[in-house]
Symmetry: C2
Subunit: 415 residues, 2 copies
Amino acid sequence: MMDMKEVKIKQIDGGVNAAAGFKAAGVAAGIKYTGRNDMAMIYSEKDAVVAATFTSNVVKASPVKYDMKIVSDSPYVRAVVVNSGIANAATGKQGMELCENTAKAAAKALNIPENSVLVGSTGVIGEQIPFDRISAGVDALAAKLSDTREAAADAERAIMTTDTVPKEVAVTVEIGGKTVTIGGMSKGSGMIHPNMCTMLAYICTDCNISREMLDLAVKRDIADTFNMITVDGDTSTNDTYIVMANGLADNPKIVSEGDDFDAFYAALHFVDEYLARNMAKDGEGATALFEVKVTGADTKENAKVLARSVVGSSLCKAAIYGHDSNFGRFLCALGYSGVDFDPDKVSLKYESRAGSVCVFKNGLKADYSEDEATAVLSEDEVTVVIDMNAGDAKATAWGCDLSYDYVKINADYRS
Amino acid sequence: MMDMKEVKIKQIDGGVNAAAGFKAAGVAAGIKYTGRNDMAMIYSEKDAVVAATFTSNVVKASPVKYDMKIVSDSPYVRAVVVNSGIANAATGKQGMELCENTAKAAAKALNIPENSVLVGSTGVIGEQIPFDRISAGVDALAAKLSDTREAAADAERAIMTTDTVPKEVAVTVEIGGKTVTIGGMSKGSGMIHPNMCTMLAYICTDCNISREMLDLAVKRDIADTFNMITVDGDTSTNDTYIVMANGLADNPKIVSEGDDFDAFYAALHFVDEYLARNMAKDGEGATALFEVKVTGADTKENAKVLARSVVGSSLCKAAIYGHDSNFGRFLCALGYSGVDFDPDKVSLKYESRAGSVCVFKNGLKADYSEDEATAVLSEDEVTVVIDMNAGDAKATAWGCDLSYDYVKINADYRS
């Protein structure tokens, strides 16, 4: 990876439609919810190359299967139609037909080829989506498409399920003397676990980049961002990450690795990490972002496995919720990760806006103040830094604490 | 495995000291708790062969490391000393010395060889155990050893942490014209996850059996019982399963496979499954036993992986807590288990004392009554039966639901 300090990334006020040529809309289509947005559309005025990753779950929702084919076979895309409320998963032939009919309706409303339309769904598994509502929704969305901030917010709210806040971000970066913009939105909250980007994320950029280079950037970056977050260990049937690039920034086309690719990659990484962190922080019932940084590991892969094991542990998550310096749990979760290491070399500290406290040093409890540890753990963003003292590799994973509300939300999610 | 129907196993009233020649005791030694038993001792009047399995966690508590050496090197054992309150894990050299000194004290008090004493601990990680309390506790235990029901109960309560009920079981089985007895106790509750028996389980039998055959029985049975339960996915640093056989039943010594071995194995399986199920049912905060039966899998190993994935899913566990027929979550958890299968062949039903309801048939939602499903899911023992329709292999896993109380217990476990 390049040295990111050389690339100047500027975060700007904006959402999924921040880049040139992209429009968005959100409407209340009554799929399952009443009185709130539940359908979104993203539209690119110009053909956009696309790169995507999807859930590794064997049980793939219909829109995932549909989009995998479009991404694989279509030279470019123009639009995405997404609904929340029903996941269109475990819905058999009827579920696939719904995807086809949704794409047909959008193609007609927008006057674009059917195979340039992507679809997405999130919500309850096993129920069929009523097509008449999707059909009416598509027409309403097509009529509302806009590049305003309000339109982005409409779309971002429409893809939320148990999310408490919409997730959006936009940045600019200079590439070949031109200003390239990347905007994105995502939704997360539950059924969030590494093994692909998590739930739905849509990134739109006006960067002029070849499909191969866009693919490369996505493959590299997902592994360090969306695949490093977890809320509850449950990898969804619908996970979808899509990035579309329509070239309207008019930068010299990126067709190989080099400074321009590095600049784009750095900006995409900023967007991906921002959305991933915010999805983790807004995990179901979460009161705090739980960040785990593993340093001094023997290999990068082991660093990742260790970080993910700790961030995914129910006992560690509950300790964060309780602001309880129960460091043995972090050690325990390292121990069952599958990675071999010497426990007597491990050191642990907590970090947050309230300070930093070392609680475990070279395999033994450190001399520390419980009050200080509690203060550090009581912030809404808490980092556990684990030094394996076994090498130079490091990795960061993001999750959230485990609260009463997680249970409450999930004990009666459908009602 | 043999046909179990041919073996007559009789459950009897009794606990860990039910078999001939075994005594038990429990005392309040003030290790960490006050006013409750926190030290237990098991004693065999006669040399006992031993078989054991321990945690797979890389971070192994001192008593685990100590016992592994005793089990490996000693020809027989005579006693076990266990404490709750502090786990003696991540305690370095001082922790190992505590184990040695505990064994020395017990050897002296009981007049047995030091290398015939096993030790065990459960509780908070990272703290040192005060040896003066252990030393006083060992003397008090040695003086109280007894074969009464009350003595068993004293010991069983002493090893509990967040357990709400003690777990004990005793059975008899006829082997070679003699009545063989097996008694056992265990504690579980949190940090419970397959990958070895879970937390502490001690089984005492008067069966006359060679060490090799005892080892074989344990290895075979643990895989189908203790390794198939989970409470929270966290494999403890202290997991210990020990079975001791002192031969006092005077049956013809079991030195090879055959009818006698099969009879012993069946009885041991009964004891192990009973204790494992009850540990799952008494998982931290649990309101229900959550049993997952996978049938029709292509291989036994895949059946186990699938069953464990569902029983360990936070979302599935929360659905059981909420009596919510959110069958998509079970399907989702099958899908991310790592096993490949055809989702369109899967069928799902719920079973409990309240009846049986099929909710998902060959990849599609079945026509069922939500009220009936809720009724079936509202019992305190609920089974989800999953037919993969891909072969003849099957497996069962046990866990519990995820409740507010799990979070409450674990957010301030140390206080």
